[in-house]
Symmetry: D2
């Protein structure tokens, strides 16, 4: 998650939500506001809500967290029959207000608002084609590309227009699209990003994660299928297949790190999957030790699984300071390590004289891991054995996850042994890909594992092109 002290984690792009509600008494903007709280872990850079008033679409978006962007007065002005919401962490597109979503555009047939989670691998190519035809762009986000494609179809029927446009997209996309009288939820044909359908008091809603439904007291109906458009309007809900399902390729990092543990994805519990990954890790990389701890917060559950399977006691050995936020003033060079120590502090009384197994869910660049290992040794740990509940990340993601460029990935250029030495642990064990997949309870075919294996569900551009849109 985004913080003044940035820990060494992959970054998720976005969370999306949508609701359609014939009953005007329902405050769709406030329901969206509450839902975005439950999706905030997926993006902390900008927040936006667009609402259909039946005759037009009004919106509000700003840089910042949900509570920083919305207040009572703003929500009071967003009255309507349907809404979509978006929280964003930028990968594609710079971190500027113009790139906040939902994007609202007027076109021939009316107004539409679009919220996108994912990354188009052919966005640059489409932009160039559109620019050749005289299109101008005001942002660097994929949603603008998609909106232009839809408008260009010239089809008055929005479902047809959307279907036609989506066929041109390559890459990952979970979308919510709002028009004056319709809400649509869409997943790319590979299903790289999650999107689920729910219902509250007869009103349909869409959300990146099912934890939203739980929180609102809504009923989870089903996941939107790869290649499907779910359309919600006053007549109810219906399904359009804009493309054949090209094979499931859900991003496995949803299970490893991104999704909230209380979410269910493709029928599998995120929490249980992480717990199981920890157990599997214990089976694959046992060690003789006195204490298992997790790196908070994301490593905790896998650590508990490791402890359960290994029989080694689990303990909360690192305390995370939850007050360190974006406005935290970085300590200067001289006291460089203070930042991590303010964020994470070991419980010496627990650690001292113990052989410690420290479980984390992933290693991206390895810098933080080294600091934590040192911190544990300073706290008196006799040995520190690091265990990681995902395989080494050796390849870039082209579908919306910011795993840094390949040359920064420690897993791309170092063997496990070398990494162990770099982070100065006594031993280091990564879960196997098979083990990780097994922990989800889903078949291997269900996942994109490109960042571990380097083979992707579709053709991807060379890495050099990845950030081509970024000028600012």
């Amino acid at each position: 998650m985004f913080d003044g002290v940035v820990l060494d984690k992959p970054k998720e792009q976005c969370g999306i939500f949508g609701i359609f509600c014939n009953n005007k008494k329902v405050d769709v903007a406030r329901l969206t506001y509450y839902s975005l709280y439950s999706l905030q872990h997926r993006g902390q850079e900008s927040t936006g809500i667009a609402v259909s008033t039946e005759s037009s679409i009004i919106s509000h978006k700003q840089m910042g967290l949900v509570p920083e962007v919305f207040n009572d007065g703003i929500l009071d002005k967003l009255k309507g029959i349907a809404a979509i919401g978006h929280v964003r962490y930028s990968t594609t597109g710079s971190s500027v207000l113009a790139n906040a979503q939902p994007l609202v555009v007027k076109y021939k047939s009316g107004t539409m608002a679009i919220g996108h989670n994912g990354n188009l691998v052919n966005a640059l190519k489409i932009r160039e084609e559109l620019e050749d035809k005289g299109t101008v762009f005001q942002t660097t986000i994929d949603s603008e590309v998609i909106a232009n494609l839809i408008a260009r179809t010239g089809l008055q029927n929005i479902e047809e227009g959307v279907s036609s446009a989506l066929k041109k997209l390559e890459g990952s996309f979970a979308l919510v699209i709002l028009t004056e009288n319709k809400l649509m939820g869409i997943r790319d044909p590979y299903g790289l990003r999650p999107l689920s359908l729910g219902r509250l008091d007869g009103n349909y809603m869409l959300a990146s994660e099912t934890c939203v439904f739980e929180t609102l007291g809504a009923e989870f109906i089903r996941d939107v299928e790869p290649g499907e458009i779910v359309v919600v309007d006053e007549k109810g809900v219906r399904s359009i297949k804009f493309d054949e399902t090209k094979g499931n390729a859900l991003c496995i990092f949803e299970f490893v790190y991104f999704a909230r543990p209380d979410s269910i994805i493709h029928g599998s519990s995120v929490h249980m999957s992480r717990l199981e990954a920890g157990k599997q890790l214990a089976r694959e990389h046992p060690v003789d030790a006195d204490l298992v701890i997790g790196v908070p917060n994301s490593g905790t559950v896998a650590a508990m699984g490791y402890a359960e399977e290994s029989g080694i006691p689990f303990g909360i050995g690192l305390i995370k300071n939850r007050y360190i936020g974006r406005t935290f003033i970085q300590p200067d060079q001289h006291s460089r390590e203070l930042g991590v120590k303010l964020k994470l502090n070991p419980v010496k009384a627990l650690i001292k004289n113990k052989r410690v197994v420290m479980v984390d869910d992933s290693i991206v660049r390895g810098t933080t891991s080294r600091q934590i290992v040192q911190m544990l040794r300073d706290a008196g740990a006799k040995e520190v054995h690091m265990r990681v509940s995902s395989p080494p990340i050796g390849y870039s993601c082209y579908f919306g996850i910011d795993t840094s460029t390949r040359k920064e990935l420690i897993g791309a250029s170092h063997t496990v042994e070398e990494i162990c030495k770099k982070i100065q642990a006594d031993s280091l064990g990564y879960i196997s890909l098979e083990g990780l997949i097994r922990s989800t309870g889903l078949p291997r075919e269900e996942f994109c594992v490109g960042c571990f294996e380097g083979s992707y569900p579709m053709k991807v551009p060379g890495e050099g092109n990845k950030f081509l849109f970024e000028k600012e």
Copy 2:
């Protein structure tokens, strides 16, 4: 000017500025910042600056006055070789952040930023045509229409692209356009909105008013001509005529109210013109009285002219409270008049027992005039004779001035006698159109006087269409 207590004045749309500077040591963003201070009277709703870094264009804009939108940190980030700036009062396009200018777009041949002062009368028609071809719009401002037209020409040469696009525009437009390596200043073929060219230390600049040049210590070179594009780049300055001059039709309200008195338009001093209008008013509508006062601030100079010509002493009879701004909390219904009294208070000692001539530059709806007449009577004035230094406004403006809809214009439905009765003055005299024109020292053909006469320099749509773009 915009205030918590809105006085009864026409509203100007925008102020624009541009500078090109080969010398990278010159801080173009700060020069733009200072220039916008001198143009702030032309628009107080939003402020923006776009800067060319040679390879791209970066920008910052927000709702609010210059000092509310910019600070040192923001200006420090806007480093480059050229810049344009914009202050806006909205007529076309709603008062929302999305409509703040300059508008920055990427298109086939690069990036451009546009700042617009004026109003296109065929914007709706062009938008529809563009939408038919699949264009999407993210704002309701004319600049977006213009940007799309330019991009649609497909011409790689920006001067050609702009020239070609401008031919399609009808209405008023003074424009500054910035690309990675060029600055352009443009006036519509009728020259409805002013734009002047200046030079500081060899660097060319464009501004809505010459007072900017005075303030910066720059040299005024000439007005941009109707139908002209002035192009500034590293090679210097050159002129392109994109259309024949269709006749000068400068908005006469620039002289009456909008422009700063220290500006020179078409070679004529705004201050001297107002002074002269006051004298003319005295000749046209003499009255036996003891004191001439102006309604601050805009009526003051004409009042001085009236005094000088009539021989009646001039006095400052109304004190304006300069602290009443946008965040002023309106008094409730009960004390409705408190608002105007907080803003304007009579100097009783001066007014008492006097026959007062009260000079204002215009009457739009007449509501404020009535309150001020009453205020003067309460302060002891024996008689109150109102004199107005512009003719009755009887028709709407289609070129960017918010004069309210025709039915609100007291001059559209009432004779001078009726208005006099409504505002409860002892007598009321408006300057004649001829008298007003004479006061500017410029020929009648130089001006658009549509709001007085109802005949416009070009075909205009019916009033009903005027606000068609406004959805929010």
Copy 3:
């Protein structure tokens, strides 16, 4: 007035207001809010309102102008039967939040809030005596000294307590004091600072200037007398003389610069007095010239008087930019003069080839005068004759006016001839003290003229002690 570009003016300390209102339907906080708008010219650094709820006193104060400190939500919470308000420019006491007024304290007999305009010359001595007895101080403002003196009397009757405490004070003080059920208005025995009594719908109010009453539609009753306590409570209004009147010694700068022109002080109109001073100046220092202009805004009225008396036409030759506020970013060293030019710009068309009389109300350090003279020459003035509607300031003020330390006062160390040379004017004429006094229509005995003459109405400490309280 306070601005990003600080002009060369003496600085006033404060404006105070109070209202007592048995009718709970009257919104005393909002009336105070509106009144402070009319007193804002007296202080722009901090603003505060304290309200009696009958059982206690609640308050809100912050650094900033009235509209920056108060909004609807804050005013809604300040419900009560009486209120006092304060706007402050700091002379004594640093510019920090702790020093904002009104000061609210709890003491033996209840709660009291105090707002002070003036400066105690024996504050340091009293503070030391109180500290010797164990008193602690949390601010550096005189109000805290006064509050402690009142509490120390131990008198349960607040009128007696206040009377007893006031006898110990030396210096200038206009005070409003609020308790749970009383409002008091007080002027020092010399009447150095103004304070007036008014009535609105049967409710009594106190204000630094009568323009407040005008604006609210209230009736002016009389000035509070030197040495008087005016007590307002549910029984009505009554007067207590806490000390004999030691002679009127009203600060003459109220007429010269501080007070709003629409105020009446000691029965004399501020506006008429300034006009008359201009006339007198013309009689004392005639000159052959073509144009009289005022330095806006404060020199304008005197300039009009000069013009009237001399027969030389008056013109508005300098335009003041009213958008330059506190957050204005100062130009760097290189463009040092840009600041003044952004704030004041000459009307070239008027100035060119003229012999100009430039009237200002005072010269403190002379720096701005030199810049304006140069500006006028640059605008084409053939001659620039400066006339000043107050005598040279040769001595510090000890009673609350920030005239800088003596060594900065150009009038303390230079003859008029030398000053003329320094500011590079063609001639320079100051009004005589007699002339200035005559312009007010009041007798010389009515005024403190210490800053001109160096003789004060009471013993003052050496200049070295003046800022002794200031530590921050």
Copy 4:
């Protein structure tokens, strides 16, 4: 901790910190800033830092969290040789800016700043005595009482003055006092509130909790003793006993809830104590179940202890949304439960069909417990057995902990059986007081257990007097 959705927890009053540093290169304000981050859990309402510049004390404080109150610019101005800091949750004294600490006062012998954690039970009495002698009060905080007492002693030697004043205080107080050249750390004779001494690079520091030292990389030296003044100045550190130790009476809730788990108090680890309390709870209240979960975050460690001792698996059954902060907009009456659900969401996959032991550290009013029990049942729990790692709270705290008034305490008026019924759990077990004490590893005499037993280490006033100071 403080949140938009207030959970049912006792509220701690404050966290304090101090550092003295002869080396002017050390940035004492920034070190204090970082330390306050580590103490933020003790108070989230206001934050302040005071710094000695050797000649005076400068300070900054505001309502809000550390990152809301301080930024780089503010910290840059706080240069000096020593500093104290304070974070506050208000119990005594209203939640207004005037009550933010440290309190800075000037008195006879110089300036002092005071930061206080605790509550004086005789504050009202002392205030009345001081008011009788003519003292005025500007806040409702105890620090102002203490400052006045110190100043009243008239003793020039600050150690003597402080010692003398402290003897008059009854109640709980951990204090940091800063003068121009001294830092003092003080604990009341009963040691109700913690305070520890540390050292970093030879510079001494004081902090409410030892986790501060860990984070800064400082060395923990020892706890300040009850009745001790630790004085730090350029000569080093020395100890003064201002009173005999009247018996240790540390607030046991520091172990239960307040302190950070990585802190050590009186030599005992907070984390280990909580873990042990969970084990003890399992021994005292065993139950046949499938899963042990903690109410996050404070119940987690005790839940782990319960699981370990009972052999029932521990799981993370409730996910806490860490984005719900102060500005969270409360759902309306209709969706009252949404608030708690947004904050806490069950992991259904884990809970379903399980007999769940839910461990929390305390029950104050019982309302949240009931909601969570219901939430677990809704998530499919077959049984819900609540276990509490502190005894029933039956009595108010008079020493600075906001446990609500006695009539709101469910433990004051209900038997365990009745509470169980109210929260609709299948069973309910509280740890015994003996068990809780044993878990700390410290003797019973070491603690104040007034809130459980109703017998306090000193005479306390009747409950009615508790909030007497509170007027706002």
